[in-house]
């Protein structure tokens, strides 16, 4: 293994804890404010674009396990959602969806719908729709309007997740556009070229 490859691997290894901490930190702020948002996947999306979907999934899973230990004990139930987010972001990054704002927004909406579909079974099977946070109020609203609890959970997810994921994707987009290209070039990902980031 040559020295450039070793250096790149070390950069990857040094970046992963920071990406996990980003996931934890932003999610903690939003939870403390009791907002009907999550913003807990910024690190996952960022890592996926920079390092690929596998490492993005590692960041998401480890981030949620550590979050469940120190902040929100229920985060561990949603680790599969993080894997799906990483996978979908990997596909989007490979196809250049982070080149422009409009395509980033469209991807964020799609990612939100996908996350809502993947999270809904967990919310229904584990929590029976009663998650104890802002989304439970949204679910209650839909139940009040005559929907079954199962449908209400899906509708609640479709109401919150797209906005949440669009915000996160736009955050990542602007972050990557702001980082000097000399720094970004240290990361071994073709996605950066495909998305005109370097």
């Amino acid at each position: 293994m040559n020295s450039t490859t070793k250096q790149t691997n070390m950069t990857t290894l040094a970046f992963l804890p920071l990406a996990i901490a980003i996931n934890i930190g932003i999610g903690a702020i939003v939870k403390a404010l009791n907002l009907p948002l999550y913003l807990d996947s910024v690190g996952t999306i960022l890592t996926t674009i920079l390092l690929g979907w596998r490492l993005g999934a590692v960041v998401g899973v480890l981030g949620f396990l550590i979050t469940s230990l120190i902040i929100n004990p229920f985060a561990a139930y949603f680790i599969f959602t993080q894997v799906v987010i990483a996978g979908a972001t990997g596909i989007a990054a490979r196809n250049g969806w982070f080149k422009k704002v409009i395509s980033t927004i469209l991807f964020g909406i799609g990612l939100g719908v996908l996350a809502a579909i993947v999270s809904a079974p967990v919310i229904i099977l584990v929590f029976q729709g009663a998650t104890g946070n802002g989304s439970a109020l949204v679910t209650a609203f839909f139940v009040k309007t005559g929907h079954q609890i199962l449908n209400s959970v899906f509708l609640s997810g479709f109401s919150i997740e797209p906005l949440d994921k669009v915000i996160q994707c736009l955050l990542v987009f602007y972050i990557l556009k702001s980082i000097p290209k000399t720094l970004l070039s240290k990361f071994p990902s073709e996605n950066l070229k495909r998305n005109n980031l370097i």
Binding site: M10, L13, A14, F15, I20, I24, A76, L171, L183, K186
Partner: protein, 235 residues
Amino acid sequence: MKDARQLIIQPYIRILFLISCIAGACLIAEPVFLGGFYVLVILPLFYLNGALRKNMNLLIFGMVPIFLSFVLLYILVSGHSNDAWGFIILKCLRLLVITSSLQFFLSIPKIYLLPTFRAWGLGGQTIITVLGTFTVWEDIQFRAGKIIEARFARGFITERTAWQKAIQLPHILVPLIIGIFRTSVERAESWEQKKILVLVDSLRPAKPKFPVFLNCFLIFASLTWMTLTLIYHFK
């Protein structure tokens, strides 16, 4: 002193306890059994581990809002009869037992993280990633605090309230993450010079002495709980 109270549990027994808690909680449908298991087994373990406060936080700030959400959804909004209370209590207790066991499983004392990860077959990279997350957390908090102070000094923040700090998030993230990128590149160069992966892989921590009584009790509790739940489920 806090670490001295933390329970030294054999890594595979830790996994066995988690699996048995989750499987038992899923199979059993009696609130009394679930509540009894939580009070007689899980709470004492948290107490002995010096982490009772963490579990009480789960109970107060996690389970109480969920209980209230259940009441809102299944009683107030849906208008179900009093039968819903039994359903709600069962679901809450089940969630409490599973989440508490997961919390206990993840509460590995810092000095036993390395031997535990090694026992589970996790390599140096995973260990560095997990341990590194806790150490960089303080660095991120420090940097975020500096950025907020700078924005306050320049008049961008008028009041030092949590909400004012929170709406600074987009302005904080970009310089914070750029700083993180630079730090990770510098850290990578340092780690490369110190050959940190070789160092971590060659570390041979002393084998911890597992308390026999405690670990045997955990095996006994896990197997007894599984047996009782299987008998209950298939009777």
